[in-house]
């Protein structure tokens, strides 16, 4: 089987999310990559260096700079004559584009796969991860999004892919990029961090969220996350949200502070290797999944912990 992997990048650097998808694709067959963007020579070179990749298709066009699904999907469809499967990371970019490709190919997409069980069979979470379904497709072509935490990352170096320019129809004239507010942070990215410190509604305010969570995260070299309740209340920005509808994370250590442990939050973090919970309610559901729990007032515990580390 020939697979095509969507390379996640920001026109300058290849993002780690790509590497887990390469691992998933390699279980199906030969791995080709697609780098679509503007001024992406550097990204194409990084892509070609990923271990085990074959061809790297590069579509360099202003119409692809912001990965608008209306423009990018037809490009991918045009490459599917010579590929049997296309795989995307289950990021907001991947989730935006993949179904548009699937419908154009008359294929039922398989979302957020956790494992490859065979050439046509995959597992995927349903009901916020409260159940795992094994599904078998009858479609001739495969369109798949991949949960990054479920696959090991392919090595970013050691490969010798061949770069090949491709072109598509460019701008379809349906949509234009108007701007972005992308958070800049010195901290590691949530989805690839080894340690995450997450805050919940118990923090009570945006000021307290940052006053309590940020120093501890800095001490641990951790990324900062938040529960949906904390984001909805405005204590933390949306890109911090961990959960069913936010980001799915699986760090080595996840520290949940003032988070009760709603089903939809657990769905986003319960594959973390070690979960540590700090909560004043000893019956909070978070303690049912936590490896290490400490019951008490976070406003006393967190400063003391930060101090002692």
């Amino acid at each position: 089987m020939k697979t095509l992997v969507w390379v996640e990048h920001d026109n300058q650097n290849l993002k780690d999310a790509t590497l887990a998808v390469v691992t998933a694709a390699a279980k199906l067959g030969e791995v080709h990559l697609l780098v679509a963007g503007k001024g992406v020579d550097g990204v194409a070179k990084q892509a070609a260096a990923i271990e085990g990749v074959g061809k790297v298709h590069v579509a360099d066009d202003a119409a692809y700079e912001h990965f608008l699904a209306e423009n990018v999907a037809p490009l991918i469809v045009s490459l599917m004559g010579s590929h049997d499967a296309v795989l995307f990371p289950a990021t907001t970019t991947g989730k935006n584009i993949a179904p548009r490709v699937a419908a154009a190919l008359d294929v039922m997409q398989i979302s957020d796969i956790l494992s490859v069980e065979g050439a046509d069979t995959f597992t995927r979470p349903i009901y916020a991860g409260n159940a795992i379904a094994t599904v078998q497709t009858s479609d001739k072509k495969l369109v798949i999004t991949v949960r990054g935490t479920a696959f090991a990352k392919a090595a970013a170096t050691g490969g010798s892919g061949t770069i090949e320019a491709v072109s598509g129809e460019g701008d379809k004239g349906l949509s234009t990029f108007a701007g972005a507010e992308i958070a800049k942070s010195e901290r590691p990215e949530l989805t690839s961090a080894k340690v995450i410190v997450s805050g919940g509604r118990a923090l009570g305010s945006s000021e307290q969220f940052h006053a309590q969570i940020d120093p501890l995260a800095d001490k641990l070299g951790a990324a900062v996350g938040a529960s949906r309740a904390a984001v909805d209340a405005g204590y933390a920005p949306n890109d911090y949200q961990v959960g069913q509808t936010g980001k799915i994370v699986a760090p080595e250590v996840y520290v949940a502070i003032g988070i009760s442990g709603a089903i939809q939050h657990l769905a986003g973090m319960k594959d973390s290797k070690t979960i540590i919970a700090i909560n004043k309610d000893e019956d909070a559901p978070i303690f049912q999944v936590a490896d290490i729990g400490l019951v008490g007032d976070l406003f006393k515990i967190v400063p003391e912990l930060t101090e002692k580390l």
């Binding site: 935006n96 009901y127 949509s175 540590i276 580390l309």
Partner: protein, 250 residues
Amino acid sequence: MKVLVPVKRVLDYNVKPRVKADGTGVDLANVKMSMNPFDEIAIEEAVRLKEKGAATEVVVVTIGVAKAESDVLLTARAMGADRAILIQTDDEVEPLAVAKLLAKVAEEEQPGLIILGKQAIDDDSNQTGQMLGALLGWPQGTFASKVELGGQGVQVTREVDGGLETVDLKLPAIVTTDLRLNEPRYATLPNIMKAKSKPVAKKTVADYGVDVAPRLKTLKVVEPAKRSAGVKVGSVDELVEKLKALGVAK
């Protein structure tokens, strides 16, 4: 401008899903079913557009069991949808087939905007809106946290992994809702009573001539590996020791 809002009837948000012992799926017998929460946000957004004078009519459509008429479609009308379409089927319909049916409805209804939930909380597919965009050849603003209608287009602010992104779309367009787009109103009892007189057109899948045969076969459904509760420590000092043992603290 007409706004079309497709909704899905799903296991209620507050009910913990239970996997059936025979591994064929999640038990939906005798449990509370409700409108998918993201779809409530879609209805709310459409009704607000009408209240602002930007939309003239809000039409809600669902594909599912007959009972939807008296629960989710009633809720939608009580929230402010003007009329409803029920495409009745007892079978599970996959996102691709749903999108094909909705494309047919869109051809008939000619809406200027279709607002959908970004994903249903049962199958968590996150596909239908984007697929509908492809089938109709319309632009899409997915995971919306803000929707602003202008003269010939709509500006959508999207929740993306790194923060927020804004796109300008030509009309007609597709919008899929994220959590923070709005806070849906409650369907009050008086509005529920009044909603009963708002029309519901009853259709069947066959009326649209769409092949809805599933492409995916579910071989089994199992519970995820369970985590067991660990230990509780009694003090911050003990927690520091544990963190040191894990190698994340010096």
